[in-house]
């Protein structure tokens, strides 16, 4: 139909968009170094050009028959670019509203839009390439995009961890880990926070694991009706997605007045247990469901009762998976700050003393005192103003990350070890 040599036109469009994206990237760089280099009129012109280009592209899309049918992402990309173009057209001087401390004029919005447009225009080119090519080339294009979207988050993760290690390792020595801060000698130590975090974790595990595993056993072994399973599943899901600060508020209005009226270790343990519970239920249910029914039938056929079967056959064979789930869950709650901030912690407290060499050997009242915790310590340093103790903050972050990584590594090791070992 419309032009005889549509292949040339398609190539032309692709080249045009490549140029546009390169141009916007360059402009974005220019604005970053020299804000105010572009006047409102030019920005408005750019918007007009953009809208025109989009119109041309859409026209081409509808006029050229041999364009292979693109999906909804085509329209989405058009929509985004059109949006940016309209913003340019309507608010060309938006960026000139605020000036920064030096009195420079900063085209904020324009700069951001340019940045976004550059990004999207590059993506657009990837998509055009995708539409342009035969099926087996598309395969490569898609693999490239998906691979990229795995690499970027992993890269961020790697960068965060490496950066923390580099910044934090200089403060970490034996004193830092094993002692409390000594103001007189000017030495910093985070032992109370480490001990506090561990007592929070242990308490939460003690509360949550019997409840969670018990619930999972009841669901998989006893509950006959679907609705009980549905109910527990839904409530566990809801509990899992409840924001951590809401757990903190809950502890603040419910637990604190009922325990001592002020922050206590026990309140923190209970609230963290409530956060660990849904994870334990989910992973334990999964672990118990994966135990083959032949195990149960064999035991029942020998005359064992149902409870005996659970105790001697079902639970032992699913222990590794349950332990994995719990370890991963602990890794999650070890770094929680928001829930314990209101109900369990105070900075500068000493490590909880549960045990002593003389009678009574175990001190219950340590449960009813405030503790310090690693994540809270980091937050407290931030709140006090990072400037002075930034090294200490990086050190605390590093210890916290190592702690969490430890639980993850442990969990994953247990999982892979038993997955290889078990016979079904």
């Amino acid at each position: 139909m419309f032009p005889p040599n549509d292949k040339l036109l398609r190539r032309g469009m692709m080249g045009l968009w490549l140029l546009v994206s390169a141009g916007f990237l360059a402009l974005s760089g220019l604005l970053a170094t020299n804000p105010g280099a572009i006047s409102a009129g030019i920005i408005r012109m750019l918007g007009g050009v953009l809208v025109g280009l989009i119109g041309l592209t859409v026209l081409t899309y509808f006029l050229i028959e041999s364009y292979q049918p693109p999906g909804g992402h085509f329209l989405f990309a058009v929509f985004l670019l059109a949006l940016a173009g309209v913003v340019f057209l309507l608010f060309p001087d938006q960026g000139v509203v605020l000036s920064n401390l030096d009195g420079n004029i900063t085209p904020k919005l324009a700069n951001l839009s340019l940045f976004l447009i550059a990004t999207f225009a590059s993506l657009w080119n990837g998509l055009l390439y995708y539409w342009e090519n035969p099926a087996h080339n598309r395969e490569l294009s898609v693999q490239y995009f998906t691979w990229l979207s795995v690499l970027i988050p992993l890269g961020v993760l790697f960068f965060f961890i490496t950066y923390t290690v580099i910044e934090g390792q200089s403060v970490i020595d034996w004193y830092f880990i094993s002692s409390a801060s000594d103001i007189l000698r000017g030495k910093v130590g985070i032992f109370p926070a480490i001990a506090g975090t561990f007592s929070l974790i242990v308490g939460a595990t003690v509360f949550a694991v019997p409840l969670g595993v018990g619930a999972a056993v009841f669901l998989t072994e006893y509950a006959k009706r679907g609705w009980i399973k549905q109910f527990v599943g839904v409530t566990a899901d809801c509990l899992w997605s409840t924001p951590s600060i809401v757990f903190g508020l809950f502890g603040y209005v419910f637990l604190v007045p009922r325990i001592t009226g002020h922050s206590t270790l026990l309140a923190g343990q209970i609230v963290l247990a409530a956060m660990l519970l849904p994870l334990t239920i989910a992973t334990s249910t999964e672990a118990l469901t994966s135990v083959p029914d032949e195990f149960r039938h064999g035991s029942l056929a020998l005359g064992a009762s149902r409870w005996w079967t659970i105790r001697k056959v079902v639970l032992p064979s699913s222990v590794p998976s349950i332990v994995t789930g719990i370890l991963l869950g602990i890794g999650r709650i070890a770094g929680e700050t928001a829930p314990i901030m209101l109900i369990a912690v105070a900075s500068g407290t000493s490590a909880p003393k549960f045990f002593s060499a003389s009678a009574p050997f175990f001190h219950v009242d340590a449960l009813f005192r405030e503790v310090d915790a690693l994540p809270y310590r980091l937050y407290a340093i931030y709140k006090a103003g990072v400037g002075g103790s930034i090294k200490e903050a990086w050190g605390t972050a590093l210890v916290l990350i190592v702690l969490v990584l430890m639980f993850y590594a442990l969990g994953i090791t247990v999982r892979s070890y038993y997955r290889r070992k078990r016979g079904w």
């Binding site: 795995v150 965060f160 619930a215 924001p243 603040y252 007045p257 009922r258 937050y379 994953i412």
Partner: protein, 342 residues
């Protein structure tokens, strides 16, 4: 007496019911009278131990049943107590509380409008990053990655969710906030923009793992059938797998949004804490506040009406996230039912 009733009324059942009832009593006592009655606890403990010795089976079953209600109980407690403390904030002028533009502690004027807007902006930005990347990461892990890479990538993505949010917040505050300040030449440290980026990476693992489960749940024969017709792998994924898993992917998006909405520490550390609408409204480089960061930063010093208003904010947050997670659950179960039937 009918056969069923006789069955139901036997001694074992009664024992189990007693155990559950005594736990309930102990619990109700704790909730209502605000104290833990040690003697009542001893009685319950004694009864349970006796029951365990005499009828281990039924006692165990009753205890397990009690355990299975724990999640629901906690959820109900959260809802009830947040409601009791937070609802008064909605009672005066509910419309003003939600849509008004002033949060002023010294003048005792409280409305959540700017915070709701902030939460929406930050969550939208996070979703913009997390959704495309998370879903295509799920496609890669579920379909393209070879086995060994997959068993490495899944825990690695899980780990991204495992880094504590306070660490994200700290790194974001020290690196990203400063970088954005320099790059865009902005006078203020905290804005909506930086936390949205970090939140995107925090919500990504949720989206990836749930979407990957959904992609995994699509029966293999569907895709194999398409492949047998001669299409490429990507065509099979696009035309068969993804449409079949679409409701699961939708559920993953909803869960991811809920995660971003409820994330607290990272936002609290990176946002500018200004309880007013940005001017103009779409300016994402102004300091702002979200619901979560408002609660986290103010509850410590709040008293009286301010506490009430913060509880109201918590109630709103809890309710919205609850609706989101129930919705995603419903969508997911619809997916499961479809493949069970088909």
């Amino acid at each position: 007496m009918s056969e069923r009733l006789k069955d139901a009324l036997n001694l074992r059942f009664l024992l189990g019911a007693t155990v559950v009832a005594s736990f309930t009593l102990l619990f109700v006592f704790f909730v209502l009278f605000q104290s833990f009655n040690f003697y009542l606890f001893l009685i319950v403990l004694f009864g349970t131990v006796t029951g365990w010795v005499l009828y281990e089976d039924s006692t165990a079953k009753a205890l397990l049943f009690a355990a299975s209600t724990s999640a629901g109980t906690i959820l109900v407690l959260i809802a009830v107590f947040l409601f009791i403390r937070g609802f008064p904030a909605f009672q005066g002028e509910p419309l003003f509380f939600i849509t008004g533009s002033t949060w002023h502690v010294y003048r005792d004027i409280y409305s959540l409008g700017p915070m709701i807007w902030g939460s929406m902006v930050v969550t939208f930005g996070a979703t913009l990053i997390a959704a495309p990347m998370g879903i295509s990461a799920a496609i890669f892990i579920g379909k393209f990655a070879p086995g060994w890479l997959r068993s490495f990538l899944k825990p690695a993505i899980e780990l991204l969710a495992g880094i504590p949010s306070v660490v994200y917040g700290f790194i974001g505050f020290v690196l990203l906030n400063r970088a954005i300040m320099n790059y865009f030449d902005i006078a203020n440290m905290g804005q909506y923009f930086a936390p949205a980026i970090i939140l995107g990476f925090m919500a990504l693992p949720t989206i990836t793992s749930v979407a990957e489960d959904a992609i995994d749940a699509v029966p293999e024969h569907l895709e194999k059938g398409a492949l047998a017709l001669g299409v490429t792998k990507w065509q099979a994924i696009k035309e068969v797998t993804l449409p079949s898993a679409s409701s699961g992917i939708m559920a993953s998006l909803i869960l991811g949004i809920g995660r971003a909405l409820g994330e607290t520490m990272a936002v609290t550390m990176m946002i500018g804490h200004k309880t007013a609408f940005p001017n103009p409204l779409y300016d994402i480089f102004e300091p702002g506040e979200t619901l979560t960061s408002l609660i986290a930063s103010q509850i410590g010093e709040a008293s009286g009406e301010a506490t009430e208003a913060l509880m109201g904010a918590g109630l709103l947050l809890f309710f919205v996230v609850l609706v989101l997670s129930v919705a995603s659950r419903v969508i997911q179960s619809r997916l499961q039912r479809r493949f069970k039937r088909g």
